[in-house]
Each structure stands twice: as C-alpha cells, then as structure tokens.
C-alpha cells in the first residue's frame, strides 16, 4: 500500500472528523503513517461536510488537500444526489455508502462503472446495536469489508480507547455487524 486517500462525506455533527481520526489512529497502530484532517473552516451543524484521511506505509510529506481520493465513504445517506460524492474519485476507486438500497442500485444512481460500490444500512445497525441514530462508527466496519485499510484489531483498540466502557463495546459490535452486513459489487 503506497498511499491511500479517503474522503468522508457527512453532515456537521455526525462525527465525520471523529471517524476520520479513528481510522488514522488505527493505521498508526498498524505501524503505518497517517494524516487526518477536516474540511478547513467553521463547523456547521447539519450542513454537508467532508473529512479526509491519508494512509501510507511511508512517511507522508504532502500537505495539500485531497482532490482524487481512492475511497469515498458516504456517512449520510441523504447526501447522495445532493452532493457530488464521486467528484475526483480515482479510476478503480471505491465508494462505501450508508444506504438502505443495494450496491447495484446505488452504482446506477451514481452513474459509475469503473468503481466498486459497497453499501450497508448503518442506521438500522446503529438503532439496533447502539439504540441511537449514531452511525458514523458503523461505516468504519463497512469500509474495512470493502478494503482492508487497517486491521480490525487496531480499529477495535482505538474504539475502546476513545469510548471506554459499554459505549465502546457497543461501537465495536456495530462495526463488526456492519463488516458482516456490508455488500458490494465490483
């Protein structure tokens, strides 16, 4: 893995910065180099926001923004059709989306061919496992299913450190279930 760039789409308040950072921290535990940064500027609850993660086996020198991500993760399902979530996505890229519809259907909606699409119903998982509509961490499980960017062990370790106690365990369960339930098409 030379350098993988991830763009996260969500809305202010959905924990986009948090998941991007958790992913970076997990990469660190795997012995890799990582960067995680928000869309720079004021935070606006409810407005579409993006977050970014870079992961590499080598030290990351670059400090420009990400224009051609390898992976796009759509945390908020209502953004599809409103925000150009595939903007700049590199050829043979990957979309991991929170959606109640299947990956075939989403692929058609997005109008992409040379891209893998994975979907998971993260809201359903969050409500059943966490009992609350907080589905950002579940998307990490779906992402790992689609592409083993970090190890599950490291991810679980970071989650437990970040959310000690029962909350952490529930998030781990949500991640593992999203990993099981995410389905994709190449």
């Amino acid at each position: 893995m030379v350098l993988v760039e991830v763009r996260w789409h969500g809305r202010g308040g959905q924990g986009i910065v948090t998941v991007s950072r958790i992913l970076a921290q997990a990469a660190l535990l795997d012995g890799k180099y990582a960067q995680s940064f928000p869309e720079f500027g004021p935070e606006r609850r409810g407005a579409p926001v993006t977050g970014y993660t870079r992961i590499s086996d080598e030290p990351i020198l670059i400090h420009s923004q990400i224009y051609n991500p390898n992976i796009v993760v759509v945390v908020d399902p209502t953004l599809i059709g409103k925000v150009d979530v595939i903007r700049g996505l590199s050829p043979k890229g990957l979309v991991v989306a929170h959606a109640s519809r299947g990956p075939d259907e989403l692929k058609k909606i997005l109008g992409v061919s040379d891209v893998s699409v994975y979907t998971v119903d993260a809201m359903k998982i969050a409500l059943e496992v966490l009992g609350r509509p907080i589905y950002n961490t579940a998307m990490l499980g779906a992402l790992l299913k689609a592409y083993p960017l970090v190890t599950m062990d490291s991810l679980v370790k970071v989650i437990r450190e970040r959310f000690p106690g029962a909350v952490g365990e529930k998030n781990v369960a949500a991640i593992k279930r999203a990993y099981e339930e995410a389905i994709g098409v190449e």
């Binding site: 990582a34 940064f37 420009s64």
Partner: protein, 396 residues
Amino acid sequence: MVIFMAKVMGLTGNEAIAYAVKQCNVDVVAAYPITPQTVMVEVISEYIYNGEMDAEFICVESEHSAMSACIGASLAGARVFTGTASQGLALMHEMLYIASGLRCPIVMGVANRALSAPLNIHGDHSDMMGSRDCGWIQIYAENVQEAYDWTIQAFKIAEDPRVLLPVSVNIDGFILSHCVENVFVLEDDVVARFLPPRKPLITIDPTNPITVGAMCLPDYYFEVKFQQFQTLNESLKVIREVTKEYESLSGRKYDVLEAYAMEDAEAAILCIGSTAGTAKEVAKGLRREGKKVGVVKLWVYRPFPQEDLIKALGDVKALAVLDRAFSFGAPFNALCSDVISTLYKYRKDIRVFNCVYGLGGRDITPMEIRGIFEETLEIADTGRLKEYVRFIGVRE
C-alpha cells in the same frame, strides 16, 4: 549515540504543541483563544485543570494582555508559554518588541493565519511576517512532528544565557494545526533531563525591587538595541547546538534549515512551513524523471541563516522563493527579499523569482508546485527570467 525509544501518538499540530508544553514543565501560560490556535491553549488548560500539568493559566481579556502577563511572569523567573494567531498576534505586536527588548525567554506557538480585512480564518504567513522584525527567534515547522520537536527545543534555545530571547514556533493554520499526524513523543523524564528547570539570571522580586524596562535616552538606547541585534544573530550557533543535543535523544536531525536533494540540484524551491513537504514530494517525483531539482526549507527564519543558505544552494542556477504573505508595496515579498539580500552579498549569479501563493488558505497543489519547478528548470537552462514576481493560483 543513545536513542531513547519513544511512543507514537496521533496528534494535531495544536495538540502536539500542547503536549510538548506539558512535558516542558511550563510554569505560566497566559493566552486568549483565537482560531486556528484555540485548541492549543484549550488542551493546555485541560492539562492544568486535570492536574497533569502544574502551571498557572492566566485567562486574559486580549492578546495584548496575554503577552503582557507573559512578560511579567517571565521576568519573575517563570518558564512561560503562550499561543496565538492572526489578529491576536497583530494585537500583541507592541508587546512582542517589549518581550524581546527585555530579553524574556517566552515561547509562543503561532497557528499562522491570514489577517483581516477581508476576514479570513485560514492559513497564511501574513501574521508572523507582519512581526518579522520584532526581535524574536522565528521557527517554522513543516509537519506535526516538527511542531512537537521544535517546541521542546525552543525553550532550551530561548533560556540559554547566551540568548535570552523569545521564540515563536509557527505552524500553518488548519493545514497543521488541525491535521492529525504520527508524532513520536519522548518520555517525560527524557524531556526533563534535556530541559531542566529555568535558571533566570535576574528576576523581579517584591522583597528586592529593581527597575526593568527603564527609559533609555539617546545616550544608551542604541547600545541596548545593538546588543539585542548581535545576540539574535549569534543565536544561530546556540540553535545548532540545541538541535545536536536534541538529535542525540530523539534520533531526529534538525538544523537551521533543511536541504533536500540539493547535492547536484540546478533548480530549487525555497519555502517555509508545510508547503516544503509537498515540494519535497514533487521533487522526489521529478528526480525519478532525471530532473535535477531540490528544496531548501528554512526552519529558522529569524535570525536569517545566510551562510547556511549559501551552502545549501550549492551549484543551483535558478531558485523560486515561495512567499505565503504579501509585503505590500515592496519589490519582493518578505522571504524572497531576505533571500535576494543574502545572494547580493554572496552569489549574484543565481536567478531568483518570487512566487506568492496560498493566501487566506488557498491550497497549493502538487501540480502547481510541479509547474514552478518546471519554470525554474527552464530558467536554469536558458538563464532568462520572465517575471520577478508571480502569483500562483490567483484569478486575475
């Protein structure tokens, strides 16, 4: 050489500076929050509140007061830190000169940000460049690791009895202040050994009153400022000593500047801050294509490392100097002016042009940097300069 094993943490630039400040056993922090620096002092205040750091946090009503409080505490013998950005640094301007004039070894983290108007919270170097002649040692970090490392080294440099000058550690606002990166941190006791408690030469003390900052008329003022001028220039030697000692415990090599792929470079980019990383990445790619390009990154901007720069430039024929701030009305912008002044003394043959970029947080892309390298290579080849000052990515 003993390299102490360190643990790796994922920290933003702001958090890394705060973590370093905690390890440096700072006594007093007086600060006012301002984007994009806020988190830096927020984390420090949390450390103090949690009892992880035994320091006095002075909440002040403005940055002018923040620096005033820092000066008072520093004169009383405390190890002092503050953080600011942009308008906050501008509001401190008057006190910056007093801090250096009174020889207060204060360390300040600056998350560099544009100046109003128009209002903009994003990164550029207008704030620190506006105070570049304030007598402080000014260091720019390329990444979060460097922000951490330089903060620790900054206290050692500032408090050295041969220096006794304040130091600013600059990180690009948002680009570094809000970016999480791998940071190898030292153990607390390693930092404590590197940086023992401050030993002030003279302190203000209510039981033994002295006058500090007394009026100095034409018969002495010039000599006082001349000493300050000489001390700042001579601090380069101390800075280098400190980096050598720091290398022996961290394994990370610092100096007053970094020369990347400069050995046989014919064309080079010179810059400060996070853009140097992107430039190195682009240079790496161009080197694979056989293009003889390199990057010079100044860690220390004040005092300006003239002789080191000349050495680093080697046999370079053309040089692009990147400025992330305007010097309104000047022939060249700040960094380029300093480079050209240095070359005037030592190397008049190098063709130099100035690229202004990234104002108000405008991103500079690898493609744009590649373009600058290609133009610099062409100038190296033909010897012909097209424009002295260029503006990267601006819509005219």
